[in-house]
Each structure stands twice: as structure tokens, then as C-alpha cells.
């Protein structure tokens, strides 16, 4: 896909963001219509931000990280410590958590991005687990060990305590800004480089590009989203669970991104909404087995619709004879995909450039 630039693009972009902002900001209301409760909206927004950042790494570059909990959890702990030991102000807490996670992202990115594919997944998983183990042992004096980090504060901004609604608006505003930035990244030459890394890193390297820098940049940007999400999580709920650093948090992130639809930006956010809705509302009907049902849904999605909900929607539209943009995320070089592309009627998608060999 070619990033859409030009004059007309900006008006369309602004309109799109406006619609997105309205949907996000009215979430406390419409969640209630579908059986949720308004307080869930903040949590959904935070996870959506986390998943959005994850898509910049997995969707654009195709690197599947199993260790994003490291950033979410580290930021959460840093925020928690700032609240507990310094002040209930959120601004220093945010700065403090970024100061902790940015160097961490650089180090982990430097180490893990030395390898690709499977190695990368395994290594990110391992290093995140190392942090989890360290938080429970070496740093247990600071982190509260197995009990998690408890604190008795209510987060404040400029001396004023934040209400639940105010925290929601902060999170929602961050998500809208985050989405706007992510869309700009996708439209930019930088974003194109990232997507080219997924398509064919070797060929890209032959053109003289220094891929390492781009990959680390994508990794750090994606980690930043995760850190802000971790920070917001503790602002929303002033308690840091050890689970935030655990691989299961990374696993949930992977599940929601894939169910929603990788490399679509909107997909992982839909996935996050779906998953939290499932966890908090559907659980009432299914009981403890909700995780099993979710796992089965996840496996079925991976097997039959690797493009997630967004792909499902596009397929349905094509079935109905409507124009839908073809985007097979995370299946760039699958055998047969090129033939499939060539056989496809050309008028369906004029913008899509065919891979040529």
C-alpha cells in the first residue's frame, strides 16, 4: 500500500480523526448500551493505546514482541514509586516513568533486534520475564515483591485531585493524539521504510538503508506507547500488580492485536475493546471459562482469518460486491499470495502496487 499524501489527504485525515475522537470520547455512554459500565471505558482506552503502539512494531515491521509487558510494567512501577515516595502529581510521575522506560527500550531493542523472526519473539519474552523475576527478587524492597506496589494516594494534577471522569478524558485524549501520530507515521517515509522491512529486509538493505536504526526507532516508539499506557493504568487505579510485568500481559496484548487485525491501527484497538468487554462483561455469563473461550476464538482467528476482525469486515464487504481495500497483514510472502494478487480483478484496488519479482 502506498501512503496517501497530498492536499485532499489532510481534510480526509482531519474528518477521520474527528469521527474517531467522538467514538472514543462517548465510550462511557455507548459501553453502557451494550451491557458494559462506564468505568470500563478508561481501561479500554488505556489498553487500546497499548495495542496501538504494539501495532507500530508488529503491524509495520512484522516483529512479534512477546515482551511488551516490560515497558507497561516498568512504567507502572515507576509511576507507582513516584506516587508513593515523591508526590501524587501525575506530571513528574510521567516524566519519571519515561526516564525509566526509554533507556530500557533502547537497551532491549539493541539486544533483541540483533536477531529476527522467531529469535526476536523468544528473546523479548525472555528479557521481559527477567525483569519480572528481578522485580520480585532483587528489587523487591522497592516494588513490594509478590504483593505488588500498594499506595494510598489519589493522583492529582496541579494540586487538584483527578476525578474518574477527568482521568478518562486524559486517557481518551492521549489515545486520540496517539492515533493521529500513528497515522502520520504510517503516511511518512519513515513508516514506508518500516513496512518495507517487513516485506523484504534483504532487498532493502541492498539499497544501502541502515535497517537497525529504523527497527530500533520503531521498537522505542512502540515502547513509548506501552509506557504511557502503563503510566495511565496506575493513574486510573493506584496499584501496581506484579502481573503488569508478567508475560501474560504481553500475551493478552498479542491476542487482542491479532483478533482485531494487525497492521490496521484501528484493528488492535477494536481487539482491545473486544477483549476487555469479554473479560468484564461476557465473563458474567461464562464464568471462569471466559479465558478458554477467548483462547479458542484466538486460535480460530489465527487459523481462518489471520487478518482479524478488520479482515473479516473487508471479506464480508467483498462478498457483497463492495469495494474493499485488500490488505493481508502479516502474510507478506506467503506462497501463492503473489499469484492470488495477480489473478485478482484489477479494478478492485487500483492503488495497491503489485509485488513484482
Amino acid at each position: 500500500m502506498i501512503p496517501r499524501n497530498g492536499q485532499a489527504g489532510w481534510a480526509r485525515e482531519a474528518g477521520l480523526l474527528l469521527v474517531f475522537a467522538v467514538i472514543v470520547l462517548t465510550m462511557p455512554e455507548w459501553l453502557e448500551w451494550i451491557g458494559g459500565y462506564s468505568a470500563l471505558a478508561t481501561k479500554v482506552t488505556i489498553w487500546a493505546l497499548f495495542a496501538l503502539g504494539f501495532d507500530i512494531l508488529l503491524g509495520f515491521t512484522g516483529y512479534l514482541s512477546f515482551g511488551h509487558a516490560a515497558f507497561f510494567g516498568t512504567a507502572a512501577y515507576a509511576t507507582g514509586m513516584s506516587f508513593r515516595d515523591f508526590s501524587p502529581e501525575i506530571v513528574p510521575a510521567l516524566l519519571f516513568s519515561l526516564a525509566a522506560t526509554v533507556p530500557l527500550a533502547l537497551i532491549l531493542g539493541y539486544l533483541t533486534l540483533r536477531r529476527t523472526g522467531i529469535y526476536f519473539s523468544i528473546l523479548t519474552l525472555a528479557f521481559a520475564q527477567m525483569l519480572h523475576a528481578a522485580a520480585l527478587s532483587i528489587f523487591s524492597d522497592w516494588t513490594g515483591g509478590d504483593n505488588g506496589l500498594t499506595m494510598d494516594v489519589s493522583p492529582a494534577f496541579m494540586g487538584e485531585d483527578l476525578s474518574d471522569r477527568a482521568i478518562f478524558y486524559i486517557a481518551a485524549g492521549t489515545l486520540v493524539v496517539g492515533y493521529a501520530i500513528a497515522r502520520q507515521i504510517r503516511r511518512s517515509p519513515f513508516g514506508l521504510m518500516l513496512m518495507a522491512i517487513k516485506e523484504n529486509p534483504m532487498r532493502l538493505e541492498y539499497t544501502g538503508a541502515h535497517l537497525r536504526i529504523y527497527k530500533i526507532a520503531a521498537f522505542v516508539i512502540s515502547a513509548l506507547y506501552g509506557s504511557v499506557a502503563g503510566f495511565l493504568m496506575v493513574v486510573y487505579e493506584p496499584y501496581v500488580a506484579t502481573k503488569y510485568l508478567h508475560w501474560s500481559t504481553s500475551g493478552e496484548l498479542v491476542i487482542m492485536s491479532v483478533i482485531g487485525g494487525v497492521n490496521t491501527l484501528i484493528g488492535p484497538m477494536i481487539g482491545a475493546t473486544f477483549m476487555l468487554y469479554f473479560e468484564n462483561v461476557v465473563q458474567g455469563y461464562l464464568g471462569e471459562q471466559w479465558k478458554l473461550v477467548l483462547g479458542i476464538i484466538f486460535v480460530l482467528v489465527v487459523i481462518f482469518v489471520p487478518g482479524g476482525f478488520v479482515d473479516m469486515y473487508n471479506r464480508a464487504r467483498r462478498r457483497l460486491g463492495m469495494v474493499a481495500r485488500l490488505r493481508r497483514p502479516n502474510v507478506p510472502d506467503a506462497p501463492g499470495s503473489i499469484e492470488e494478487e495477480r489473478a485478482r480483478p484489477r479494478n478492485v484496488q487500483a492503488r495497491h502496487e503489485l509485488p513484482t519479482e
Binding site: L64, I118, L125, A126, Q289, F298, N330, A334
Partner: protein
């Protein structure tokens, strides 16, 4: 060296071997499957866990001796079923999809076990011949005084050694092994030569699963039998594979022993023990990115 020191060192080495034994068995299956099929099996920990659960349940019904034979066989069949039913459709898909589907499978297994048996540990009653301790000073000449080691852990080390030896013989000296080793080098060429590679793939997955079953049966009493144990053993086993070099069987064994020893020798410093495995992985990765025994250009 004083006698005390020799005794202590000997015991720590044994403990290290015992810790490494479980990782070695799981990593052996992982690296075998990865080397041949090119699939990273995130569900391998779940297979280990299934082995433990089967063993606990069957031991009560048919006795432990029969269990030792039945569980690996069950896991072998399960592995073949899994490969034919699911994994084979993922060879042509990107690695990311393979990771995702096996990861999803691991979750489904974990949650199913949690649903049926609850989240608590199921006590694993050892058979009468596996109880108690072995007085090692009666057997090993250079030990003095009183040196003892739990019998079951020694059995685990022995079983691991035998399993590794059998797998080695199978791969080195049989037609099956010849084809598998050839397929590890170049799958396309082997199938062009008229070998029905898919059958061998199913067998290899079954074999990896069988080894996980052996590990689950003998390791279950040591690692506990809970629904979370699969992922707990999987992460270090992955590191063993990475440290040893992806797809290298001897590499996996060396790395497993290395990690086992590292864990046993840092046992007194619990903080260090928590992260030593990852530290080793970092160092190996920085100094030798393809792993200790990884071949140049293979899965780099």
C-alpha cells in the same frame, strides 16, 4: 581441597544436572521440531504439562510402571494428531503465524486444565521404588562421610541420559534418522528425492511430543503439576535452545547443562539465581549471536 568441599561441589553438580535434565528434554523436542519442521512450538510447555497430568491421573489407575510406557505413547499420538490436524497447515505461513497458533494452543490447554482440575497443584505420589535417598558415599569412591541425594532426582538424570542416547542412536543409525537429518539440512531436496517428507514431519513432531511426555512424567513430581507450569518451563527451555543454537541438538544439551549448573551454583544468592539464565543468554547473544553450536547461515 578438603573433603567437605568435594562433597558440596559434587552435590551441586548433581543438582545442576537434574535441573538441566528437564530443560534438556524439553529443549531437545523443541530444537528437533524447529530444526526439521521450521516451526517454533510455543505449545511445547503445554505438551510437557499434559504429560504430567496424564501421569498423575494414570498412575492412580494403572500403576506407575505402566504409566511410564503409556504416557509417552499417548503424547506421541497426540503429537501426530496435532501435526496432521493443525501444524501442517502452517508450514507455508509466516513464522509469526506459527508462533501465534501454538501460543493460542498453549492457552487453550492451560485454561482447559485449569477448568477441569483447578489451579492448584495435584500431589504426585512417587512409586515405592522412587522414594527416599541414595547414599552416594557408598557408590562414589572420592566421596567421604555422608553424602545423599533424592532417589527420584537421580532417576530423572538417568532417564534423561537414556532418552538422549536413544534419540541420538535413532538419528545417527537408522533410516528414519538419516531422512530427518537430511530434512534438517534441506527439506525441498529430500522431498525431490522421493521421500514422503510429510510423514516424517508428523513422526518428528510426535517424537518431540513423546520426549515432552517423558519429561512430564519424570519431571512432574519436581516441577509440580499446575496449569501454569507449562509456560514456566517453556521460557528457560527456549533460552536453552537459543543459547545452544537453533536446531542444534548437541548445542541444546550443552546449554541445558550449562544453565542447570548455573542455577545450582547460584542457589545461595537467590537474587542472582533469578536472572542468571537471562544473563547467560545476553552474554552468548552478544558474543556469539547464533548460539554456541549454531551453524553459520542456519536460522541466523
Amino acid at each position: 581441597m578438603s573433603d567437605q568441599l568435594i562433597n558440596a561441589l559434587f552435590l551441586q553438580v548433581l543438582t545442576g544436572l537434574q535441573i538441566g535434565a528437564i530443560y534438556a528434554l524439553i529443549a531437545l523436542g523443541l530444537t528437533l521440531i524447529f530444526g526439521t519442521l521450521g516451526v517454533v512450538n510455543f505449545a511445547h510447555g503445554a505438551l510437557y504439562m499434559l504429560g504430567s497430568y496424564f501421569a498423575v491421573l494414570l498412575a492412580k489407575q494403572i500403576g506407575f510402571t505402566a504409566t511410564i510406557l503409556v504416557v509417552p505413547l499417548l503424547l506421541f499420538l497426540l503429537g501426530i494428531l496435532l501435526e496432521r490436524g493443525l501444524i501442517q497447515w502452517f508450514y507455508a505461513r509466516p513464522h509469526v503465524d506459527q508462533i501465534l497458533v501454538t501460543f493460542g494452543l498453549a492457552i487453550v490447554v492451560e485454561e482447559t486444565l485449569k477448568w477441569i482440575f483447578g489451579a492448584n497443584n495435584i500431589p504426585f505420589a512417587l512409586p515405592s521404588w522412587g522414594l527416599g535417598i541414595v547414599r552416594l558415599h557408598e557408590w562414589v569412591p572420592f566421596l567421604t562421610g555422608f553424602v545423599a541425594f533424592p532417589k527420584w532426582r537421580l532417576i530423572l538424570i538417568l532417564v534423561t541420559l537414556v532418552t538422549i542416547a536413544v534419540v541420538f542412536l535413532l538419528l545417527e543409525f537408522t533410516r528414519f534418522g538419516l531422512v530427518v537429518r537430511a530434512a534438517m539440512r534441506d527439506t525441498d531436496m529430500v522431498s525431490l528425492l522421493g521421500v514422503r517428507v510429510p510423514r516424517y514431519f508428523a513422526m518428528v513432531f510426535g517424537l518431540g511430543s513423546l520426549i515432552a511426555g517423558i519429561a512430564g512424567t519424570f519431571g512432574g513430581p519436581i516441577t509440580q503439576v499446575t496449569p501454569g507450569v507449562g509456560m514456566e518451563v517453556l521460557v528457560p527451555s527456549f533460552l536453552v535452545v537459543v543459547i545452544g543454537g537453533m536446531g542444534s541438538l548437541p548445542g541444546a544439551l550443552i546449554a541445558a547443562v550449562l544453565i542447570g549448573l548455573a542455577l545450582s551454583f547460584t542457589a545461595e544468592y537467590s537474587a542472582l539465581q533469578q536472572i542468571i539464565v537471562y544473563l547467560i543468554a545476553v552474554v552468548v547473544l552478544l558474543v556469539r549471536p547464533r548460539g554456541l553450536m549454531g551453524k553459520k547461515g542456519v536460522f541466523e
